[in-house]
């Protein structure tokens, strides 16, 4: 297959460690059924330029931190995958645990869940056993938020990933937990989770991204969520890569008629992290609730770009991204609501709130609306405020030291997002992860 026409001359800067030779080596390590799409992805990756300061979709980002060299791909793991630490304190064992992109351990689903036809397997297995579903949903949505190059890199170098399929009418109560871990110096990983929830099904998925050591990793991950007619997906992506890592994640959510997707991105790790999230509301009654919580410390940068596209009438989206900024951390939020001409009665909401715990921290918000229908309700807003001095004094006057007081106030700030999770166990597990992030 011919490569897409090159927009710029490929240079080492544009491919970094991911050279044609590296790609050939990677290709040899994955089953042939991946080859064709990987070749075409690699051609796109090679052809697309690196982002620049002047790209609107990279405004405020620290481009110099987005480096592609110094990484190794397809690193074999040297340890027992069960050693993956820092995992969620949920009763359910992780169903799949990936280490450096390959399946480490697998725990069987509950008998009743498996008997209902729920499938949780690797993407490689899915491509073999469910080729039609795989082709329809795996990275099938457009990359509209600026990272087409990195999404192509993801597709070119992905070793494996998770596939979740919930058949029509099946409700899975217990969360399905998937762990994606990285280890070893300079390891690049390309985690992926594909969730297909058929008509009137219900499922909760927890993706936990973590490093098994303190080395800097490059994580370039993606997830595809597809909620069929009346389906209900709750999706939690908890990012706790090592503090030296570079993280990129691309989410695509497709919401069909009367379906509801609730996603929560928890950003705790990495030195620099970019997260792009696209929700497409394709049929009436669809609802996407997009939530995110970030704890930004040190000189870390968290860059979140979102797009809520209302393609059908009577659809709803509700975005609430909350960042707690400490030290010299930076956050960027850029969100756009697009309402197509015939998407009347759209109800879209977008809010970015920043709690500034330090005067040296910096938050940037770029909210936007693009409305082509006339009978809609769209609201957006962004706020940035320091800790309320009276609240902080109130807590301290009860003997709570400043650091603990700030932590309580951060939890208080996060609570209206956390309380939207229906599952109590999940709620407290996430609180636990955040608490651990504060060093307890």
């Amino acid at each position: 297959m011919a490569a897409a026409p090159a927009l710029t001359t490929p240079s080492t800067a544009a491919v970094g460690s991911f050279t044609p030779a590296a790609f050939a080596e990677h290709l040899a390590s994955v089953p042939a059924l991946w080859h064709e799409r990987k070749r075409s992805a690699y051609a796109r990756f090679e052809a697309l330029p690196m982002p620049t300061r002047t790209d609107e979709s990279w405004r405020f980002s620290t481009i110099s931190g987005i480096k592609l060299d110094g990484y190794v791909h397809d690193q074999a793991s040297t340890r027992d995958a069960k050693a993956a630490k820092g995992a969620f304190s949920l009763a359910a064992e992780p169903t799949l645990t990936f280490v450096n992109g390959r399946l480490g351990t697998r725990n069987a689903l509950r008998d009743s869940v498996a008997a209902a036809g729920v499938v949780v397997c690797t993407l490689t297995e899915a491509a073999e056993r469910h080729p039609e579903l795989f082709r329809q949903h795996f990275m099938a949505q457009p990359q509209k938020l600026g990272s087409a190059k990195f999404a192509a890199l993801h597709e070119a170098f992905i070793a494996d990933g998770a596939f979740v399929y919930v058949p029509r009418g099946v409700q899975v109560e217990e969360p399905i937990v998937l762990i994606h871990s990285a280890e070893g110096p300079g390891t690049a990983v390309f985690p992926h989770t594909l969730v297909i929830a058929e008509e009137n099904s219900k499922v909760t998925i927890v993706d936990h991204f973590l490093s098994n050591d303190e080395f800097g990793h490059f994580a370039c991950g993606a997830n595809d969520l597809y909620a069929g007619h009346g389906a209900k997906i709750t999706y939690v992506a908890a990012q706790s890569w090592s503090m030296e890592s570079l993280s990129m994640q691309f989410n695509s959510t497709v919401v069909r008629r009367d379906a509801r997707v609730q996603s929560l991105n928890l950003h705790l790790g990495a030195k620099q992290a970019r997260h792009e999230s696209l929700s497409q509301l394709q049929a009436p009654g669809g609802f996407s609730e997009m939530l995110a919580l970030t704890v930004a410390t040190g000189a870390r940068e968290f860059d979140q770009r979102t797009l809520q596209i209302h393609q059908a009438p009577n659809t709803k989206s509700d975005l609430l991204y909350k960042n707690a900024l400490l030290d010299k951390a930076r956050t960027i939020f850029s969100g756009l609501i697009v309402v197509d001409p015939d998407a009347q009665k759209t109800d879209a909401y977008q809010s970015n709130r920043n709690l500034m715990l330090s005067e040296d921290a910096e938050s940037n918000s770029l909210p936007g609306l693009e409305i082509q229908a006339n009978d809609v309700r769209c609201t957006h807003g962004a706020t940035s405020a320091p800790i309320d001095a009276d609240q902080a004094f109130y807590l301290k006057s009860r003997g709570i030291p400043e650091k603990a007081a700030h932590e309580l106030l951060v939890f208080g700030f996060f609570e209206d997002v956390l309380s939207r999770l229906e599952n109590e166990e999940l709620h407290s597990a996430i609180r636990g992860l955040i608490r651990r992030r504060f060093g307890k």
Binding site: Y394, K396, R398, G399, P401, L408, F411, G412, F413, E415
Partner: protein, 251 residues
Amino acid sequence: MSSLEIKNLHVSTGDKEIVKGVTLTINTGEIHAIMGPNGTGKSTMAKAIAGHPDYTITQGDVLIDGKSILEKESDERAREGIFLAFQYPSEIPGVSIANFLRAALQARMAEGEEIDASGYYKRLYQKMDLLKIDRKFTSRSVNEGFSGGEKKRSEILQMAMLEPKFALMDETDSGLDIDALRIVSDGVNSLRGPNLGILLITHYQRLLSYIVPDHVHVMIDGRIVKSGDKSLALELESRGYDWVKQELATA
């Protein structure tokens, strides 16, 4: 016995001096009432003692058992036994009363020690019952959406849980109807004892017929201008603050 000594205390905010040399010693087991018209510096004094960052102590000292606490942060002062029941308690959205009090108690424990959760809840519920606070309040955010009376009861609940040596109670009676006043007073009276000293700030004598003080002080324009026993409160009630002011002017 412990003592809280306030020595020639001067407090400013910005360049404005508000408290202008207050001297007062409170021993555990005693209740002192400070009465005075609005704007006289009562809250400022209480907040400055608790370590509020808006106020600067320009002169004088505050000591617990002979040791100055002024170098200490507000949280350390609290752990040394100071408790301020706020005139206007802050609302803290998203932080439940249970988590808040737990953090406050945790802060009083030695490194590595953990609160026993079941014992904690048992004690909390017992104090709540005493103050006629619905147990559901434990999961509500601190003071958020509370009525005036609920806020004041929540302050007393905190005081009961934290067991301070010295409580500075700022207008704990304001905004309370007669029933709430009785509940709050009963609560305070039940905490009364040899291990607690109370500074009761109020501008109505009404509260003092429920919580009977050992000493009454009148504060006007940042100074204590008159001290006496509980009968002084009654005299103030009938004669008003103007009487004290006139007495001052002629003196």
